[in-house]
């Protein structure tokens, strides 16, 4: 009973926040709504006996990724979106896609409801830190290593993407490149553009 009430409470909160995320034009409001979704999902994870995942969800999503997003919104000082001018057929496409996915969702719901009732396996140790750690560093060691390499690549990529070359350095790079191509005409054009 209690877990049912909790589930519907948090599920309703998550759906409301998700709708508000799509509805709001202001990116900061969208970000706040998304944080609401993350917190609601984290509470649902607690009711699913996965405390480690719940804590990590708050720590990584709400505490790190969304802080970065909010930081970028504040740094770029973004205003509201401009009114919609995009091609109309895209909206029809979006609505159609949404409809199909929704129908699919209800089909899954129906199918799982009709399937023989699966009894909950009340093994509470599955969500504990110890079992996750043991599985992570024995059976699933290779994926963990791959994710580590991926994160390293992301760090390097992020640094390179936002690095701004000094003007002198930038000119040096462009000169070198243009000398290599040996195209005097274009070179002058580029210098004027700079």
């Amino acid at each position: 009973m209690a877990s049912n009430v909790l589930f519907y409470l948090f599920a309703g909160f998550a759906i409301a926040c998700a709708l508000s995320l799509v509805y709001h034009r202001n990116p900061l409001y969208s970000a706040i709504s998304l944080i609401g979704v993350f917190i609601a999902l984290s509470c649902i994870y607690v009711t699913l006996a996965a405390p480690f995942i719940a804590a990590v969800q708050i720590l990584i999503y709400a505490g790190a990724i969304m802080v970065l997003v909010v930081f970028v919104i504040m740094l770029l000082n973004l205003d509201e979106d401009r009114p919609l001018t995009r091609l109309k057929y895209l909206y029809a496409l979006g609505a159609g896609l949404g409809l199909i996915l929704l129908v699919q969702t209800f089909f899954i719901f129906y199918a799982v409801m009709r399937a023989p009732n699966h009894t909950v396996n009340v093994d509470q140790t599955v969500g504990k830190t110890l079992s996750i750690g043991q599985a992570m560093y024995s059976e699933y060691l290779l994926p963990v290593e791959i994710v580590g390499v991926l994160l390293l690549m992301a760090i390097i990529g992020g640094v390179i993407l936002v690095r701004r070359l000094e003007p002198t350095q930038l000119r040096l790079v462009i000169n070198e490149e243009l000398d290599r191509r040996n195209e005097g005409q274009e070179k002058d054009d580029f210098r004027i553009a700079l």
């Binding site: 998700a18 999902l41 699913l48 999503y61 997003v69 973004l78 949404g98 599985a135 994710v147 992301a154």
Partner: protein
């Protein structure tokens, strides 16, 4: 009485649908990024629900992997958004049409 597996799957499906439509409707790169995060979270919910109902730790490990990928995606994606903003003073994806003509 506990909510059944179908309830969790339905919630996850609804969230995924909202995220997927949001990606199409949003024209702002940050908004699209956030909708993608929403979709990833919807998938995470199914993983945790299955992990609970089959008492298998694999689902939770996959959630962990998805989170790491989302973090990497955030770092690179926000880097691209900032670099794009420096060039065109906008993060509207419709303005990213330099290769068009």
């Amino acid at each position: 009485m506990e909510p059944s597996l179908a309830n969790y799957l339905a919630l996850s499906g609804i969230l995924f649908t909202i995220g997927a439509t949001g990606v199409v409707f949003k024209r702002n790169a940050l908004g699209m990024f956030m909708c993608i995060e929403l979709m990833l979270n919807a998938v995470n919910l199914t993983f945790v629900a299955f992990s609970r109902y089959y008492a298998d730790v694999t689902g939770q490990l996959f959630v962990f992997m998805v989170m790491s990928v989302a973090a990497a995606e955030a770092a690179v994606g926000l880097g691209i958004i900032i670099a794009f903003y420096r060039n065109s003073v906008s993060i509207d994806v419709d303005d990213a049409s330099l290769l068009k003509n």
